[in-house]
Amino acid sequence: MIVRKSLLTLALAAGLSALGASAASAEVLFWSTQGNTVEESQAMRDQVLSGFEAGADFQGSESGPWITRIEAELQAGSGKIGVLGSLHGSFISLSDGLADLSDMDTTGVNSTFLELGKLGTDEQKYIPWMQATYIMAANKKALEHLPDGADVMALTYDQLIDWAKNMADATGSNKFGFPAGPKGLKHRFFQGYLYPSYTNSMVSQFRSPEAEEAWNKFKELWSYTNPGSTNFSFMQEQLLTDEVWVAFDHTARLADAFNQRPDDFIGFPAPAGPTGRGFMPVVVGIGVPSTAPDMEGAKELISYLSQPETQIATLRATNFFPVVDVELPDDMPPAVQLSGAAIAAMSGADDANPGLLPVGLGDLGGKFNAVYVDSFERIVLGGQDVREVLDDQADTLRALMEEAGAPCWAPDVASDGPCPVE
């Protein structure tokens, strides 16, 4: 009986606080997939949004619930969400429900990213908010095992393999780590790093002889990769336990390692292959749903977030980098400095070959990723024949591209119809 009573009190209290919240909701509700951990949400509220006069209510969420709620509001034709924050890819499926932001002042905002924000329409569907990418990180102990003549800031895939082998020989265990766990971002490595570096393509050359070579190279690297990698999802954890010395991951998933032991780690660019140094910039955008209760307030929040000072505060809060021209102050956290150096070296390299996140796939994004993950699981983990797997997965990929009708994106050459898989 006591239990039931306290439950009732709890429910009442929850109801009352919900009432209280809605009473004070002149604030703009900022519904975001980024910054959804407790620490980051708090930092967003305290350090980033506290300066916004009209007030903003920041709510971080996983991407599943995020999309479910906004879809429900759009279907209902009315809602509470004022501003949406998410990855480029999540905006694509919402395209029809987004208000046009063309009338906003976007001077100083990265023009490539602005173009992406149009989602292939004439309207500005979202404004770029922040960016990140995937880089490499190394424990300084690993540097002495670098192969002769290798420059860590300009490695090739062959040198990376030699390096991983040297470390394995010297320590008796495999010290290269790869985020191949269930929540790891391995597919981005294949899409934005391995494929552009070997085939100058992400989609059209999927089953080319060059792709076959790329997968064989990766198999070689895998033989010196920590076998626990299939359980690794955030490489900062294994870097901090010294289980792994060299790793590839998203900057936000390396930040803890850099911040906790800044003197022990370095960040460096991804390696280069025959067709350049493939890398994948990640763009996060902010948009306004057509159902926003206060359109003007939402737009004000967006221009507030685009100001240089706010962009720097956001960088401190989330480890995502600005998309507007800003001068970074010297007192930034170690993770920002270390990854900033790697990103600058990577995007500024002569052989830089950026591969964008998939565009125009809508709901099929998950299946697109699965093509690369399945190839990895079959070729590398399952030891199946590379040629056969690529031919088989290429059929799936072709069917997907045709179903989505998505034209090619960089580094693939633009196509008229759906991106062809040759």
């Binding site: 076998p227 626990g228 359980n231 399945d374 088989d392």
Partner: protein
Amino acid sequence: MYSRKLPYLLLLPSALFLCVFFLYPFVLVAWQAFVTDTGELTSEYFMEMATHWKFNTALINTLLLALAVVPFQIVLALYMATLVNGMKRGRDLILYIWTIPLGISDLAAGIIWLAIFEQTGFLNSFMQSLGFIEEPIGFLGYQNKGTIFVAIMLAEIWRATAIVLVILVAGMGLIPKEYYEAAEVFGASRWKQFTRITLPMLKPSLQTAMILRVILAFEVFAVVVALGGTNLPVLMGEIYTWQYDLRDSSVAAAYALVVLAISIGFTLLIMWGLRTPKGARV
């Protein structure tokens, strides 16, 4: 007060409940698996499911797991139930202790066993401290599918034997003592009493327990996810992947119908195998 209609009236709420929350969603799922967006009947989704390279592995893994876990659990639970029934004192206490894992969610059970088998887990640090091994062993790595399988088996047996036990203990309580007394008069051994009285009289309870366990075994999910990640695909895991990662509800629905079909198939098999002739019921 009493009328012929009363039993039906009393059954009505639960029947309605089942219709709304089971039958109706079930029809929707079946519809999703067989009908395209444009309303045409299709086997396309089943083809996509069956030709996907993971389907056979997932099906075989699920069946193997059920085969490895359920018979072991039945035998173990039979043994435990006999022990409990033979106890004069402390019977309830032992029963409560043995059923503790029943109160733990399957994900939590998976995580408990993960803490044991992880590379930095209890088993590795235990063996390391005793000097059996120098470097921690990656029991749950992709190249150790066998160990992953055994770990899942252990977790499942630990977690779900109790439900079988509870049913069997209740069933044994229903067997009239007279049979055993008669058997003792004729000098039957304990083993003979078990095989000739307990087992046959326990058939209805065994049937219930096995059906329940087999169906649950085909729905194994959280324990596998916790211990194996994507290294050991099972049918339920594939349903989740298709629904949430690949966002294709139709293929997920096709998978769900496969699980349903297997469950129904095995239920019928068990009902037939352990049927009790009408005249022989207590």
